[in-house]
């Protein structure tokens, strides 16, 4: 298949692995930002094919994982209302709140529907004028433009029965939070290619300069990741820092300026709590005053109960790259996808879930790969 197979080619992957092996001299710890990248690394078994000097830690770029429990409880409260058609991306449906999840709300008679685009939810609102259609949008700069477009459309056409429960977070403040932590161990970043497709990569230049660290904008296919790793390791071995772009087929320095204009119009930047991490200043989007009427949380006046995260869950440390999932004492025992203790085990983009689903911890696989 064009645009896929050329980035999953065995011979090219072996060549790239050879180049990484020849380049690396010292031990390095790299972080891939995005959960989609984590997913590819584990799904294709790439991290285990790398030289022993390279440690990959998995970043906070899993939208489901960093959405605070209180937001999920708000969503559940709204979804249970009889007048509401509640829509979201498929991945959100299974995430447990304090007492239930959206699939159980659906099983109990709630009108919960999976959509692929927020604009589908806008169309649902047009088709169902007697119902309130709510879209639950979580994500990073990647999904934010689609939510912004839906709100913009609803506003432009005067659609009064559509609203969004939006919980959007931004990557650069999270990277700064990780780098400025005294316990930080990340020496180089693979930045999230899709986020940069929208936002460009100029925002990362001051971060790379301040912390003297290489940041390589990287795509999501196996060869993208291998090349991103090679570029990061090369910079580290040659003592260079700065931003480089591996994902040139999609990303420019300035990014998608039309999308950025729309984001600036519909949203404003705010402080935002990240699940497992805490409040990061200026790290989220909320609806700008001109669009505040489309905010589902105020439309339905949901007050949420806060619930404590399980103490043993080390989701916060995993999302900051301080630990790997299999370092958690609960991993695979008390915490499994059937019985998750923390969000990274629930979402398919969560690092814990990827580790579990693709069989991390099976000794025979490790032995075979190292042969």
């Amino acid at each position: 298949m064009k645009f896929v197979d050329e980035y999953r080619n065995l011979d090219d992957a072996q060549k790239m692995l050879g180049a990484i092996g020849r380049k690396v001299r010292r031990p390095w710890t790299l972080m891939e930002i995005c959960g989609g990248q984590t997913h590819t690394l584990i799904k294709f078994g790439i991290d285990r094919m790398l030289p022993a000097e390279i440690t990959l830690v998995h970043g906070p770029g899993c939208p489901v994982c960093v959405t605070p429990l209180v937001e999920i409880d708000r969503a559940l409260a709204i979804a249970q209302r009889p007048e509401v058609i509640f829509t979201s991306f498929g991945d959100m449906l299974r995430v447990p709140g304090s007492t239930t999840d959206l699939l159980h709300v659906k099983a109990a008679g709630g009108d919960v529907r999976m959509v692929y685009s927020p604009l589908d939810a806008v169309n649902l609102a047009r088709k169902n004028p007697d119902r309130q259609v709510v879209f639950f949008g979580v994500g990073f700069e990647t999904t934010a433009p689609a939510i912004a477009m839906a709100v913009f459309e609803a506003s432009r056409t005067g659609l009064s029965n559509f609203s969004v429960l939006s919980s959007h977070v931004l990557v650069p403040p999270a990277m700064e939070a990780i780098l400025s932590s005294p316990s930080n161990r990340v020496q180089g970043f693979l930045a999230a290619g899709h986020v940069c497709t929208v936002m460009g990569f100029w925002q990362y230049e001051p971060i790379a300069a301040q912390y003297r660290i290489p940041i390589v904008v990287t795509g999501f296919e196996p060869l993208d990741l291998l090349q991103g790793i090679l570029m990061t390791v090369s910079a580290l071995e040659e003592d260079r820092f700065g931003v480089e772009n591996q994902y040139v087929r999609s990303v420019t320095r300035t990014g998608n300026t039309r999308a950025q204009e729309l984001l600036a119009q519909v949203f404003e930047v705010c402080d935002r709590p990240w699940r497992g991490i805490g409040v990061i200043p200026k790290s989220g989007y909320r609806l700008a005053p001109a669009y505040a009427a489309f905010d589902a949380a105020s439309r339905f006046r949901v007050t949420a109960v806060t619930a404590d995260e399980p103490e043993v869950c080390i989701a916060g440390r995993i999302l900051q790259g301080l630990d790997k999932p299999d370092a958690c004492p609960a991993f695979g025992t008390a915490c499994t996808p059937e019985k998750p203790l923390g969000a990274p085990m629930v979402s398919s983009e969560g690092a814990c879930s990827a580790y579990h689903r693709y069989g991390r911890g099976l000794a025979h696989l490790k032995a075979e790969v190292s042969r």
């Binding site: 992957a13 498929g90 447990p96 959509v115 043993v312 996808p337 069989g359």
Partner: protein, 357 residues
């Protein structure tokens, strides 16, 4: 703070509020063919109905009756929409049960038809479904010999639900069972996977996308007969990878036979259009439902012959060897990815849900 508590105490104190494995009510995923379906079977059905033929956990039961070896199977169909490119709920139901019998190595003898109709279903639709069942049964050469009809109130059903049960006879010398997979065996899939699931998905509300894909629903009994005539007792396991897809069926076989299964991503036949849809929707074709496809696990010496027989059949022209049975890692399915890395192919916890980005 609870520093005095031991880790074990902490762990037991904090059960998840919604333990997905201990649901207070039935979810859609309980019918998805993944881990939750397996839990229903293991924890509710098998302990309740416990008996030897059931414990085989095959697509149908094998019964010894007055010197004859019979196969008995049943399957219900709740597909929406009821008419779709490539078939409808009627033909699908007939093929489904015929195939379940064929996977036992049986030649189908007779079928039943049980319909649950929703008040308000257009008579025209009922007529189309019944004609389709008749045509499918006639094409297979198996009569529908008994039936039942119930009607539920408007809003309490989805137009029409169809159950088809069937009996067949297993020819002498044929012994097909998921437990017969042994290390060294070769795993063959009879054609391109995930076609049916993607074709149906493309019609769902909120997901409509244009495709020329049609469901590949088809009866497999003739291809199975030809395979058994040629490769006979070298055929150890047959399964049709419907709900839960190829991944779930292989996982079940690995568990039942206590063997390991190795497959190669590169070798698995997936049509370009299906791969494209799966990439866009964030789905793994290994877990997408199939109709008119089967997995055959065959002794290595006979693999070439088995493959050749399948490929002469129109339904098996894209048949391919996708892997092998191994002695290592019993119970686990391991896939070699296109770039050479290894990963475990596990059962899905719930339904396959598309990722956010």
């Amino acid at each position: 703070m609870s520093e005095k508590k031991s880790l074990g105490e902490k762990l037991t104190a904090m059960a998840c509020p919604i333990p997905i494995s201990e649901h207070p009510s039935v979810l859609m995923a309980h019918g998805g063919g993944g881990r939750l379906t397996q839990m229903l079977i293991e924890r509710i059905f098998v302990p309740s109905f416990d008996n030897a033929p059931l414990r085989e956990l095959h697509d149908g039961a094998r019964l010894d009756v007055a010197g004859a070896r019979l196969a008995f199977s049943t399957d219900s169909f709740v597909i929406r929409p009821i008419f779709f490119p490539g078939g409808d709920i009627g033909s699908l139901a007939v093929h489904g049960t015929v195939n379940d019998l064929a996977m036992c190595g049986a030649r189908p003898l007779a079928l039943s038809s049980a319909l649950i109709l929703e008040e308000g279903l257009p008579m025209e639709d009922l007529w189309r479904v019944v004609r389709s069942m008749e045509a499918a049964a006639r094409a297979v050469g198996v009569p529908i010999v008994t039936g039942d009809t119930k009607v539920v109130e408007h809003g309490k059903g989805d137009g029409v639900y169809v159950n088809v049960s069937g009996i067949g006879v297993v020819p002498a010398g044929i012994d097909i069972s998921p437990r017969k997979a042994v290390p060294g065996d070769v795993i063959i899939v009879s054609g391109e996977i995930a076609v049916h699931g993607i074709a149906i998905l493309s019609l769902r509300e909120g997901l409509e996308f244009e495709t020329t894909l049609e469901s590949d629903t088809a009866p497999l009994h003739e291809m199975v007969s030809a395979l058994l005539a040629e490769a006979g007792d070298a055929v150890h396991v047959l399964r049709d990878p419907t709900r839960g897809g190829v991944a779930s069926v292989l996982h079940e076989i690995a568990g039942q036979a206590r063997v390991g299964i190795r497959i190669s991503e590169e070798a698995i036949p997936v049509a370009e259009e299906v791969r494209g849809a799966c990439e866009i929707l964030g789905l793994d074709p290994l877990y997408v439902a199939n109709e008119g496809k089967m997995i055959a696990i065959v002794a290595k010496e006979e693999a070439d012959r088995a493959l050749a027989v399948l490929r002469t059949n129109a339904l098996g022209r894209f048949a391919a060897v996708i892997g092998e049975v191994v002695a290592e890692h019993p119970g686990d399915v391991v896939l070699r990815s296109r770039v050479g890395g290894l990963r475990v192919v596990d059962l899905l916890t719930g339904e396959q849900l598309p990722r956010i980005c």
